[in-house]
């Protein structure tokens, strides 16, 4: 969620300290893993607030219906190359706004369900779904941009040069 190894270590440390300090307040009203994640998310959000980083509210209205994907039906090269390397994806995730990143990591990386994410993040299930969709779309956009940069920097593949079939 921080996009920075050293910060992540500091926050992991703070989270474990909070866990030991607050373990007595766990009443078993939710799954322990959910409680723990909520605690960690709070530590991270507190940290982001202190740093004054812009956050995307998870309570924002789902306006995905108002923002369809911009498309150019004349664009032939519209699909990723068929594979995404993990480093590029990790970098792209790091570039996501914190709200999108948190939901994406919890759902697509760690495998949490939307109802669990809603509880962890303190938002509605609908918002969790909406944030996830937007996160994936932003990732696609970012990966395609990166792919375009790499392709532009590479010498032309002779096999795909004009005149070859």
């Amino acid at each position: 969620m921080t996009g920075n190894t050293a910060e992540a270590e500091d926050l992991a440390q703070e989270s474990f300290l909070q866990l030991f300090r607050k373990i007595a307040t766990f009443r078993g009203e939710s799954a322990f893993s959910t409680w723990l994640h909520r605690l960690v998310v709070n530590v991270v959000l507190m940290h982001l607030r202190k740093k004054g980083l812009q956050q995307i509210s998870l309570d924002e209205t789902d306006n995905s219906q108002e923002e369809p994907v911009k498309r150019d039906y004349g664009d032939d090269d519209q699909r990723l190359m068929g594979s995404v390397d993990r480093i590029s994806l990790t970098r792209a995730i790091g570039d996501l706004p914190p709200g999108y990143r948190a939901v994406f990591v919890l759902h697509d990386v760690e495998g949490y369900e939307h109802n669990e994410i809603a509880e962890i993040m303190g938002c509605s299930i609908g918002n969790s779904k909406s944030q996830l969709h937007k996160a994936r779309m932003k990732l696609r956009e970012s990966l395609r941009r990166e792919e375009g940069r790499v392709a532009a920097a590479k010498p032309l593949d002779p096999a795909r040069a004009p005149g070859k079939s």
Binding site: E9, R21, S64, Y73, R86, R140
Partner: protein, 233 residues
Amino acid sequence: MENRTEDPSEKVRPACRQFELELSDYLEGESRPEVARHAESCSFCSALLADLDLIRTTARSLPQVDPPARVWANVRATLEAEGILREQPSRAGWFSFPSLAHWRAPVGALAAMALIGVALLVPSAKIDHASTSAWLSVSDRDALAARVIAIEDGEFAGTVNELQKNFDARSASLEPSVKMVYLTGLKSLDESIQHCRAALEREPGNVLARQYLESAYTRKAEVLAAALKFDVP
């Protein structure tokens, strides 16, 4: 497939808009037959679906990273200072495990194994030198700094061999179980070094293999240094 070039100025076709509205639920596994049907007839939406599915699948395969041992050591120290965790005279640690200090380097060796494993598995991973020694204490890292610089100057093998000799000479005094963990970690690092060397012999210009080799040597030096408990000036 629909003819994409028919009207490039077209903004969003109604069918595509409907597809996008239902795409999220479809990817969640909900039954949306019209999504699959539309994807078959629209190359743009088909590409969108394939890309999001690819992103989702790749995300699931991202490696999970455990916090370094330094984090546990700091947590323990803070909790002891706050009186939440009482320090045992015998240094018996949390949850009946041996003292964390006692196990710090072996745990580090295992962490190094895992990190090297990840580094070798991820083809284009960048080696984060800022975090390579994160699981050592600050004093250990300071003591290592000069040696790591020497390593990065190209004296990998010499420096690490010197440490290895010292370790071999003193390892007899280690508790057998601790020694075994060290040796397992070092063996794995040696295998990584051999692997990287072989890669470099095949392809001397392989920058990633060189980075991994540096990383493997650095981690081996850290493990050995921790085992030897340097006297920090």
